[in-house]
Symmetry: C2
């Protein structure tokens, strides 16, 4: 597994380098489900680059990815889950705060995950039996700071509409932060900048963070506290396990 992780680390760094080289080119921007759901040629090119490298190195493995309708079921065999540019709106408008994410599963069991903050050149990676790292620094487990000295990341609309009572939780803390990308936001949870993160996500948005986080005391759950399904888009939370009851209590009271 160590060598597959090293392959994946080198691959996302190459993909990031490809994006940095081409991000000042004229981008072809298309809308997907609605006007604010955007994709560029570089999202697709980057996914193709990653997919081809995996297929060449591991021809018997399967793929699930954001673009091009790659939808192999997570529980069947060796499955790579790819989000070539997470935070496409930030990528287009800001040229900052977007991530490449890659996760690897064997028969539904997460082996490792990677979140690469492309512009800050920060690569978060790790898995159950593998080192947990941000570049060459070891990631530390959750530090148990109090809610009143914490910040919460959220999807802006879910916060504004107090979905499942999350605003009541946020009101117990120092406030909300909205960064506009799941990968960047969950990396901020892993690094301790945020206590938790709430959003509406697809499997490729949460797979890597779930695997890395599980070794640091974090859980990726639906807002009801259930396991995610790795199939549909779901409202989810990425939280420290030690705070699960407290978080659920404040949410319940805020509904």
């Amino acid at each position: 597994m160590e060598s597959k992780l090293q392959f994946a680390q080198a691959l996302v760094r190459q993909a990031g380098s490809y994006i940095r080289q081409h991000m000042s080119d004229d981008l072809a921007i298309e809308t997907k489900s609605r006007y604010d759901d955007l994709v560029t040629n570089l999202d697709k090119d980057t996914q193709n680059f990653v997919v081809e490298a995996i297929q060449t190195a591991y021809p018997d493995d399967f793929l699930m990815g954001e673009e091009n309708n790659l939808r192999h079921p997570i529980k069947d065999g060796n499955v790579w889950v790819i989000d070539p540019i997470d935070g496409t709106v930030n990528f287009i408008v800001q040229k900052e705060d977007f991530a490449i994410m890659l996760a690897y599963f064997e028969d539904g069991v997460g082996q490792f995950g990677l979140i690469y903050d492309v512009m800050q050149d920060k690569l978060y990676s790790g898995g159950p039996d593998l080192p947990l790292m941000m570049n060459d620094q070891t990631l530390e487990a959750f530090d148990n700071r109090p809610l009143t000295r914490s910040l919460i990341g959220s999807n802006g609309s879910m916060y504004a509409h107090n979905v499942s009572g999350i605003s009541n939780l946020i009101n117990q803390t120092l406030g909300v932060r909205v960064y506009g990308g799941a990968g960047i936001s969950m990396a901020h949870v892993l690094s301790g900048r945020l206590l938790a993160y709430f959003s509406h996500l697809y499997p490729w948005d949460y797979a890597a963070a779930q695997i890395i986080g599980s070794q640091l005391g974090y859980e990726l759950l639906t807002l009801d506290g259930e396991q995610v399904d790795y199939q549909s888009r779901q409202m989810v939370m990425f939280i420290p396990s030690a705070y699960k009851q407290t978080i659920q209590d404040y949410m319940e009271r805020g509904k």
Copy 2:
């Protein structure tokens, strides 16, 4: 004026270096008006450092600053406006996304402003008759992108409560971003990452951005479109002048 700007640029860089050296020390954190209005010993030490340097170099000048109740009126003589650590919550929790801000006025007329993103080492500075720079790059004027390809920065609570109809404006764009510091957010407006920014600010939070922005086609106004008062805390917006009517129309319709 050029030499006074150079003095100020060197001073905020020195102050930033002082903060970076001491930010891993144990911080003494106190609450001010309420539990989420925080100040540390480093806010006060940094302001003292800046104030002493100004008083030594320019003993006849006056001071307005966030800490220690420095409140010289903006229209009287040569006045320096200081925010030693803007985004104190980010500073305490994240050790990222906070800024030192400094602005200089003569008889109420802004001469230059500086916003220093301490951890990213990005210094925005300029004034009416002075170069507009981010470090050694020239700041470019606003690029007229459409609302539907733009992001808006906001105070989280003002967005959630649709204060003055701002959520209706935000709904015409690609969405909201909440970074938790006025200096950082307004620097993101100046660099084009955000189209506009809405928050509830004191004079030391907006002075520098107003001066720098005015040369790039931005205005710092109350939510009613009036001039700010440089005295009280006010709900304000930092917007491209070219969009003033459009922004006000969407806000009016969203009330």
